[in-house]
């Protein structure tokens, strides 16, 4: 035991209060978001993550899986396209640089790899934050932070930032594969950038959801399961709900149907078509399409600029983009059953392209979800507390 006094070493003053320590008064200690506090928490979290050897293994396995899948998918798609298009070849794309088959293959591969990265990230990202708060509580290190001048918001945002940075590291590890497929051609640069942006924001939302659940539940296994369920709801769950909602928006109604007058001959001009009024079962997807909008798959697909080379819907991103817009338009009236050329198809495509983009609202919904879960986590970290989650200690 050293004999000198404990105060003698250094005058200790919080630098935010020049006159001394924080005075009393005001309850504004919950939502304060000073950067230094956020950084303190984020640095603490990242340090711990980096030093756990598990993290290196995760990144290694992640990269290996992506590498194997990218190579296989790219090879399979190129083989398929080489077989089917080479026969009618001789055409080149608008830029004139690459054979059409390569361009189409590149575009399809890019779309698949984007969804692959998105799906795998959805599997991995919840693990980054879903045990952050209740895990700290169990380890007895949460109260250490709560009894300092850090606000609950600083603790939560710091943890969120650290989880997001880790998730972005995973995305960065996947970047070489995206760029590789991008360099195969057929993909506009804007599509690559938009894709990366939406992927990054989706990961942020997933991290926030995990953090929220880890604040709500006291057991780490519960929060992990709930986070995975939430991600599953957003990813495949919303499109599934959309399908399940089809009976709800399907009605029998009297509509005009344009049909052929004579089914024995093939149609050559519009005069062979006639308009009748019939009772048909119509699915009004314009009432339920919003279920699709918040799915990250839809957001990334809708936000991707369309390739300018062809009007076709030949890659996964464009198919989803057009599919969702079709759903927004709802059933075409009059119902078209007189097919003499592709005028109707082109009209439909024109209508789809004329629609406003859906991704901002989808992305806004995702970000609102993330914000809500972040706010929940902050509220759960407020101290002093009146109630304790069942089975937990404070310290």
């Amino acid at each position: 035991m050293s004999d000198d006094t404990l105060a003698s070493a250094a005058p200790v003053r919080p630098d935010d209060a020049p006159g001394g320590l924080p005075a009393g008064g005001g309850r504004g200690g919950t939502w304060g978001l000073g950067w230094s506090g956020i950084r303190t928490v984020a640095v603490l979290e990242l340090r711990q993550r980096i030093r756990s050897t598990r993290w290196v293994a995760v990144l290694g396995v992640w990269t290996a899986i992506l590498a194997v899948l990218t190579v296989l998918i790219r090879w399979a798609i190129r083989r398929t396209f080489a077989g089917s298009i080479q026969t009618t070849d001789g055409t080149v794309d608008a830029a004139g640089a690459l054979p059409a088959a390569d361009v189409a293959a590149g575009r399809v591969t890019f779309g698949i790899i984007v969804f692959l990265v998105l799906s795998l990230a959805g599997l991995v990202a919840p693990a980054l934050s879903a045990t952050s708060i209740n895990g700290d509580r169990q380890a007895g290190v949460l109260a250490t932070l709560q009894t300092t001048l850090l606000t609950p918001a600083q603790i939560v945002v710091g943890k969120l930032l650290a989880a997001w940075v880790t998730a972005l590291a995973l995305l960065a590890a996947g970047l070489p594969f995206l760029v590789w497929v991008y360099l195969d051609g057929g993909t506009p640069l804007g599509r690559l950038l938009v894709t990366l942006g939406v992927l990054a924001l989706t990961l942020l939302v997933v991290c926030a959801v995990g953090l929220g659940w880890s604040g709500i539940t006291s057991r780490t296994s519960s929060s992990a399961v709930l986070t995975y369920l939430t991600v599953a709801l957003l990813g495949p769950g919303l499109p599934l709900l959309f399908l399940l909602s089809v009976p709800l928006v399907t009605e029998n109604e009297r509509v005009q149907v344009r049909t052929q007058t004579d089914f024995s001959v093939s149609i050559t001009d519009p005069s062979q078509c006639t308009v009748l009024t019939e009772v048909r079962s119509l699915t009004h997807t314009e009432r339920s399409w919003w279920l699709l909008a918040a799915s990250p798959y839809v957001v990334v697909a809708d936000a991707s600029p369309k390739p300018t080379t062809r009007p076709g819907t030949d890659d996964p991103l464009a198919i989803i983009r057009d599919g969702v817009r079709d759903a927004r338009l709802g059933p075409a009236v009059p119902v078209e059953e007189c097919f003499y050329d592709d005028v109707q198809d082109r009209e439909r495509q024109r209508q789809r392209d004329a629609l406003g983009v859906t991704w901002p609202s989808g992305l806004a919904a995702l970000l609102a979800l993330g914000t809500a879960f972040t706010a929940i986590a902050v509220r759960r970290l407020r101290t002093p507390t009146r109630t304790l989650p069942a089975g937990t200690r404070v310290a």
């Binding site: 004999d3 105060a7 250094a10 310290a395």
Partner: protein
Amino acid sequence: MSITARGVRRTFGDVVAVDHIDLDAPAGRVTALVGPNGSGKTTLLLVLASLLVPDAGDVRVAGFDPVTDARAVRARTGWMPDVFGTWESLTCREVLHTVADAFRIPRAAASARVDHLLEVVHLTDLADRPTQVLSRGQKQRLGLARALVNDPQVVLLDEPASGLDPRSRIELRGIVRALAAEGRTVLVSSHVLAELDEMADRAVIVARGRTVAVEELAAAAQARRTWRVRALDLASLVAALDARHTPHAPPDRDGVEVELGSDVEAAELLAELVRDGVPVVELAPAGGVLEQAYLALTEDRR
């Protein structure tokens, strides 16, 4: 008073952890919080550390209400929990620096403070080792240093001696006395009554969530209590005690326990025994002041 608590009550569901505790801890003194397991000590300290809202009662720590002015309380308080974890992959130095950052202590001041605290708790050699290699007692010492990072006016120590080896306990006593000597308010809860006896100025004894007694340990020394006398010749000792009508228990293997009213009486007894030629080896309180008061007050323990 740097800590005052009046009528504090806190329940968890239907479990009454703290029923009605009154506590005063003045600055510059070491106040012991003593009581059996489950008597509400830790819960009370959580209320004082601004982590729990009491159901009822009025609490002031360093002049502020921990419920409404939690930040003001935290800035002035150091709290060492009874059970706590450490960030296992961080080094001792990093742990303390992280806490210093969380208290917004400027970098230069923090470095000096951290070095000093590591020295005080004898962890300088381990400063740059990850905390997962620390033993339980070393972690306990790191926890103490962590509670002192913000130069607190009020220090709350919950079972600080648990897991400490004898030397560390003696050093802990020195640290705690030094904290009080600097004018800080120190509240220590512990089961090691002999330790508290030498460390504390006052004791607040709680049982079943209620304050049952407040003892000034200096005054307690003047109270009637049991002393133990040992002599080379037990027969002559007993004869001498009987001759001066000092009430005593039947002698055991090598000594006799006697009831004495105060330290003055003890001094008188010793002088007389020596004068009468009894070969006295030892005259000392049987058990600490605090231990006797504690045992007397918590006899009704289930």
